[in-house]
């Protein structure tokens, strides 16, 4: 395998969990709910997928469990921040902590001890006939089924956001929830759906880590990817295509680090700072500010 192909393949592997979670963040933040809890939702779903697959012997069932648990954590965030009007940032931080402690506890309960879970049968790689044989770009078409799902989800998310009724309402509710309410649409339900979807998509990202990229759960295995996903979302300006592109960029940066493409003249610590620095640069300069949906961060309260 030549270096370029390998680099591309590595980029996609690294970008996939980021992109799933970034798309998840998009649904939440477009609905007006900040989601700092992406990291936690990824982590708990990564665990749930493996536990589900272990318990049932079916990887697909495990994925469903991961989705369900992602949804559940999304709903916890929703109940706290939408219904109970807790601070969205605090609630997100709490979700992260809950996932960290929760997976630690559940590892002991399910598998007897913490650390790394037993292996499961992961989603296997599928080569798309003909396309996978193209030099270099063939790597795009030699991936696990979850990656193809991601390829599909990016345009679908775009379509949903900009070409569907739900998308119109979602875009509106993140900006001026009062307008949506007076138009006869339930603001709370919209936000619940947005945050719920967010949890499921972040869950997919986590499941990809533990069930496709790898085939076991390791405590703390998300290792900050949820935050990088958040960064990708901002860098991509709350747009699905932009977020995907940003995830690819960060994935590429990681691939370069892992593959030693720059010859390690720069200490690795500095390379690891790169995505975070990029976000700050993006926020400050590079064609103006990144403006989040106007109502994000504020609970909606009638009366």
């Amino acid at each position: 395998m030549d270096e370029l192909t390998a680099l591309l393949a590595s980029t996609i592997r690294n970008a996939t969990p980021l992109a799933f979670a970034a798309l998840g963040g998009l649904f939440s933040e477009r609905s007006g709910v900040i989601n700092i809890g992406l990291e936690g939702m990824m982590l708990i779903s990564a665990f749930a997928g493996v536990a589900g697959a272990q318990g049932s012997g079916s990887t697909v069932f495990g994925l469903l469990v991961a989705l369900a648990v992602g949804l559940l954590f999304g709903l916890v965030h929703a109940v706290a921040s939408i219904t109970f009007e807790a601070d969205q940032i605090i609630s997100g931080i709490a979700i992260n902590l809950l996932a960290l402690g929760g997976t630690g506890l559940l590892m002991v309960l399910f598998f007897g001890s913490g650390g790394t879970s037993p292996r499961i049968e992961p989603f296997s790689r599928i080569d798309i006939p003909l396309l996978a044989d193209i030099p270099i770009v063939g790597a795009i078409f030699s991936q696990s089924v979850l990656v193809y799902l991601l390829y599909a989800l990016v345009p679908i998310t775009w379509w949903v956001l900009y070409r569907s009724r739900f998308g119109l309402r979602l875009r509106a509710v993140g900006e001026v929830p009062e307008a949506v309410d007076t138009a006869g649409v339930n603001v709370f339900r919209l936000r619940y759906i947005g945050v719920g979807l967010s949890g499921m998509l972040a869950g997919l990202g986590g499941a990809f880590l533990s069930m496709s990229l790898l085939s076991a759960f390791t405590e703390g295995m998300t290792n900050g990817r949820g935050f990088i996903a958040l960064a990708a979302l901002i860098f991509g300006r709350w747009n699905p295509v932009g977020a995907f592109a940003a995830a690819l960029l960060f994935g590429f940066a990681q691939a370069v680090v892992f593959r030693g493409g720059i010859g390690f003249t720069v200490p690795q610590e500095f390379i690891e700072m790169f995505p975070y620095l990029l976000v700050i640069v993006a926020l400050v300069g590079f064609g103006g500010r990144a403006v989040p949906p106007a109502a994000s961060g504020q609970p909606y309260r009638k009366e």
């Binding site: 590595s10 690294n14 002991v108 007897g112 913490g114 650390g115 709370f188 990229l213 390791t218």
Partner: protein, 378 residues
């Protein structure tokens, strides 16, 4: 606005029920004497561990040895020295009837606290598992001069501390011999045309360098023109806990021709196994027989680090009043402290010359004919 109210009510109700249930349960099962922590713990530790039934024997055999260990932040389940040390304690509990307690550490601040906690409750010997606890043992041990401590993988010069270190380079040397020979074989996992092998380390540091040095020396002893590619997973503690990074690095090493990759990177190694499985090349495990717990994955063998033996032996010495306080105990091939796991699942692919060469190397080291370096030779 009815839904949220209902939700709140349900939520409160659920919690209330849970609370009531909890109270009842607590009273009925709260039979063990909470004021006697040692008694309560042996029970709890036994219940929590998989080998709970074995722990039960401790109550019949009234031994006065109360052995305990503190894990480092890796915790139980690391499939490495923490688990191995725990296994040693288990064995001590079942064979010697010692009581045991295991405290996990959530943060570096916990090291001192956990050690102190155990010492104050009269546990002895107390094992501090991992070099990360060096400073903590140095601090706590002098405060409890009448009790015995042991530290794994490091040296603490206190009269009541036994330092248990391992000659990882010796075991790694054997792994290197196997790798250097096998890479020249033509199997479904190896390509004889490219005499390249790899090493994947976790966080770069003196300890892991010992693995690298021994492995490289071993490879070169049987294959002078073999190349050993060396990569480390990172420079932060997460380097031991990032399987995704491990996979990426393993794939890269494989891309560059390495068909056998040895790792010393904790949980990160799980990524190596993924890559080996995906690309069908050989991995070599570390610390415990990782092939045994990962069936189907092309793991050639594993370098064994018998922390369990060391722990068991030390408890035994303590029970016999022979505790090696103030001494540095070195566990090498000769002491059965390190070794190489048998070529299990894939032994059919391993020619007898390889097995012989490994045995020969082991004997040479034990006899002192071969001196294995502890630092990578440039």
């Amino acid at each position: 606005m009815r839904t949220p109210k209902l939700l709140a009510a349900l939520f409160a109700l659920a919690l209330l029920l849970a609370a009531c249930g909890g109270g009842d349960e607590g009273e009925s099962s709260g039979s063990s004497d909470a004021s006697e922590p040692a008694a309560a713990t042996s029970e709890a530790a036994g219940g929590a561990s998989e080998a709970g039934s074995e722990g039960g024997t401790s109550s019949t055999d009234a031994s006065d040895v109360m052995a305990a260990m503190v894990t480092d932040v890796g915790g139980l389940g690391d499939q490495s020295f923490n688990d191995s040390a725990n296994a040693g304690l288990e064995r001590a509990a079942s064979e010697l009837g010692a009581q045991k307690n295991v405290l996990e550490s959530g943060a570096p601040t916990d090291y001192v606290n956990n050690l102190t906690q155990l010492a104050q409750n009269n546990f002895s010997p107390i094992f501090a598992v991992g070099f990360l606890m060096t400073d903590a043992v140095t601090e706590v041990a002098p405060q409890f001069p009448d009790q015995s401590f042991a530290i794994i993988d490091s040296v603490v010069e206190e009269p009541n501390v036994a330092s248990l270190t391992f000659r990882e380079e010796q075991g790694s040397y054997l792994a290197g011999v196997a790798a250097g020979l096998m890479t020249q074989e033509d199997t479904e996992f190896t390509n004889p045309d490219d005499k390249t092998v790899g090493f994947l380390g976790g966080l770069e540091g003196p300890l892991i360098k010992k693995f690298e040095a021994g492995y490289t020396a071993g490879v070169q002893s049987v294959c002078e023109d073999c190349e050993v590619l060396v990569e480390y997973a990172g420079t932060t503690p997460e380097a031991f806990n990032d399987p995704a990074a491990g996979q990426e690095i393993a794939l890269r090493l494989n891309d560059r021709g390495a068909d056998i990759i040895y790792h010393a990177s904790g949980a990160t190694g799980a990524g190596l196994f993924e890559a080996a499985n995906d690309r069908q090349f050989f991995a070599i495990g570390v610390d415990s027989d990782q092939a045994a717990v990962n069936p189907g994955i092309p793991i050639l063998t594993s370098m064994l680090k018998r922390v369990d033996n060391a722990v068991f032996q030390t408890v035994e010495q303590f029970a016999n009043d022979e505790f090696p306080g103030g001494e540095v105990q070195t566990f090498g091939l000769a002491e059965d402290g390190v070794g190489l796991a048998p070529f299990g699942e894939f032994s059919d692919l391993v020619p007898s010359e390889v097995t012989d060469a490994v045995d020969q190397a082991r004997q040479d080291i034990i006899d002192g004919n071969v001196e294995v370096p502890t630092e990578p030779q440039q």
